[in-house]
């Protein structure tokens, strides 16, 4: 048997679903797993962030709302692609403690965070 326990449940202390709502659980214990899961989404994410940056640079901060809308739409598309692509190996991620909602949430949060930082930096530097 394994020497390291992934987690434990005692008979009288079985808690309701918690990991996806627990911020500590979102901390990456194996950071490359998020990248492994989301790598097929990476190109789309970088592309849309780059396009958003170019449009904001050329048209000014007035288009940020539209670009954010575009980003959100492509993020939803990206999630759908990820779910479809990982429909067979999702059990591997779940078995090692990465539920699908958590993987999608972290992927989306990092993507949106990078987008926000990029656009904010662009606006501060050039407008």
């Amino acid at each position: 048997m394994g020497s390291v326990r992934l987690g434990s449940v005692t008979p009288n202390n079985v808690s309701p679903p918690k990991s996806i709502y627990n911020l500590n659980a979102l901390l990456p214990t194996h950071p490359p797993m998020y990248f492994r899961y989301a790598r097929s989404y990476l190109f789309l994410a970088v592309l849309i962030t780059f396009v958003s940056g170019c449009v904001v640079y050329s048209h000014g901060p007035a288009v940020i709302g539209s670009m954010l809308f575009l980003k959100c739409i492509t993020m939803l598309v990206g999630w759908a692609v990820l779910r479809r692509r990982h429909s067979k190996d999702i059990f591997f991620y779940q078995n090692i403690g990465y539920g699908e909602p958590r993987l999608l949430a972290v992927t989306g949060a990092i993507d949106l965070g990078v987008w926000l930082i990029s656009i904010t930096t662009l606006v501060i530097l050039y407008f």
């Binding site: 048997m1 326990r5 999702i90 591997f92 078995n95 403690g97």
Partner: protein, 215 residues
């Protein structure tokens, strides 16, 4: 410790697949599940792992309602019918991710997998299956759900897997479902047959004949 799945109602359009099915797994026991194709056996497993949401469902762990078994750390792991591990990942890495001690695993099963440096995709189909089954059984979860663990595995290794399942069932609950019913029959402490939308506990071969699962 036990997991209870109860009052499962599932339909696809006008087709009622499950009508009040129930199911109970206990730690320290092997639970078997059999059923003809299309009776809802795989649906039960998908429901257990949260992949399918039926119209009605109760899941309890030790009598306490639990919405998602995977959300309880260390409670279950699940092996689907198909290979579910990345082909480019080394066996040693997989063992680490599952919290299994590589040296101990290799000491026990070293004759089957000479080195942890091999990639999962380098193994033959049958050996991949064998590794997955042994990996999930070795992981320190309270329950392991195995969907067709004997598929693609050669007979001599089937005996090996059966022995490991029996050994593992001393410390965890194991659910086994497979069309090679004789193995399930031999292994199971409790055997369920999914029949006409419900689940029935069956005693042995005679019951399987009576319900038309075998002749």
């Amino acid at each position: 410790m036990d997991i209870l799945l109860d009052s499962v109602y599932l339909s696809f359009g006008s087709n009622d697949v499950l009508r009040g099915a129930h199911f109970r797994m206990e730690k320290g026991k092997v639970t078997g599940m059999l059923g003809r194709n299309g009776t809802g056996k795989s649906c039960m497993l998908k429901i257990l792992t949260g992949q399918l949401r039926p119209e009605s469902l109760y899941i309890g762990v030790d009598g306490q309602y639990t919405k998602d078994l995977y959300a309880v750390p260390g409670l279950i792991n699940y092996l689907p019918q198909h290979n579910c591990h990345p082909k480019d990942m080394r066996l040693g890495k997989l063992l680490v991710l599952y919290g299994v001690d590589e040296a101990a695993f290799m000491a026990e099963h070293g004759a089957l997998f000479p080195t942890g440096d091999l990639r999962f995709g380098d193994l033959s189909g049958g050996t991949r299956r064998l590794f997955e089954v042994l990996l999930l059984l070795a992981a320190d979860t309270d329950f392991t759900l195995l969907d067709e663990p004997f598929s693609h595995i050669m007979p001599i290794h089937i005996d090996y897997v059966r022995a490991v399942i029996q050994r593992s069932a001393k410390t965890k609950g194991v659910l086994v479902t497979d069309h090679q019913y004789q193995h399930v029959l031999d292994l199971a402490d409790t055997l369920y047959l999914i029949y006409e939308g419900t689940s029935r506990i069956v005693g042995g071969r005679e019951d399987l004949v009576r319900y038309g699962y075998i002749r």
